[in-house]
Symmetry: C2
Subunit: 124 residues, 2 copies
DNA sequence: CGTCGTAGGTGCACGATACACATAGCCCAC
DNA sequence: GTGGGCTATGTGTATCGTGCACCTACGACG
């Protein structure tokens, strides 16, 4: 629902989807922001805003979901590497359950949508 | 999310989920705000804010996705009944496709989550 | 030198959401 | 007939997530 032309409808992922995605990637192994930025597109997020990603990581750091440390690099700027904490792992489980609930809701929507779609767009 | 206590993780439905839900309900038949408010919980939305719902309906009215008319009532206050337009029906189809894409993304997340969950929470 | 790729970050504005509150009509009980 | 409850539709406002633009810094390469 972008202004004006009734054209493209963006994919409208769940709110806060970035957080569980980052937690999941960090559950697979420690990493740093730039790398996560590249990996995250594999989860359906597309054109992730780097600023938002770094902000999200720092927020989770302050909340204790992740731990961070600077890692100097010989070739290029230093990286801040992130590691999942136990609390973050707990949060990951909870939000995975929450996302499963969202998926159930979407399935319910789909079933109901298909009923009305059959009538307005009959099989050919 | 809620600052401080890593407590409740709300279900975080897709952004703008209200719109496609209302369009779907209206595709099943004309209705008015109050009734939609009661029906919408069946789609997974829970504790929907009435104000937001009415605002959403009026916005869709202005955008031409729905048509509205006042219907006087013998028992109780008048209702504004909403009817889906052709444009709204088109929007419904598009957003249903978009939601399907979200569902695919969530499925991808789930598969990947289960891989890491198997390791940290082994089967018992 | 400039510029490209890596890496991390801020500022700001907009839109969706959440929460509180307002209004008005009808009906029933007291 | 007054007060409260249900139906029905809204407004006002704060908050928060998101998107876009922009900035800094380091190393390497030509």
């Amino acid at each position: 629902m972008n202004r004006g032309s009734g054209g493209e409808v963006p994919v409208d992922l769940p709110r806060n989807y970035l957080r569980p995605c980052l937690l999941l990637l960090l559950a697979e192994g420690t990493s740093h922001g730039y790398e996560l930025l590249e990996q995250i597109s594999a989860l359906g997020l597309d054109r992730v805003d780097p600023g938002g990603l770094y902000r999200c990581l720092r927020a989770m750091d302050q909340e204790g979901l992740v731990r961070s440390a600077w890692e100097p690099s010989t070739s290029g700027p230093a990286r801040r590497i992130y590691e999942l904490t136990d609390e973050g792992r707990g949060w990951l489980h909870v939000s995975a359950g929450s996302l499963a609930q969202v998926a159930r809701s979407l399935a319910k929507y789909r079933r109901r949508y298909q009923r009305v779609a059959e009538q307005s767009v009959p099989v050919r």
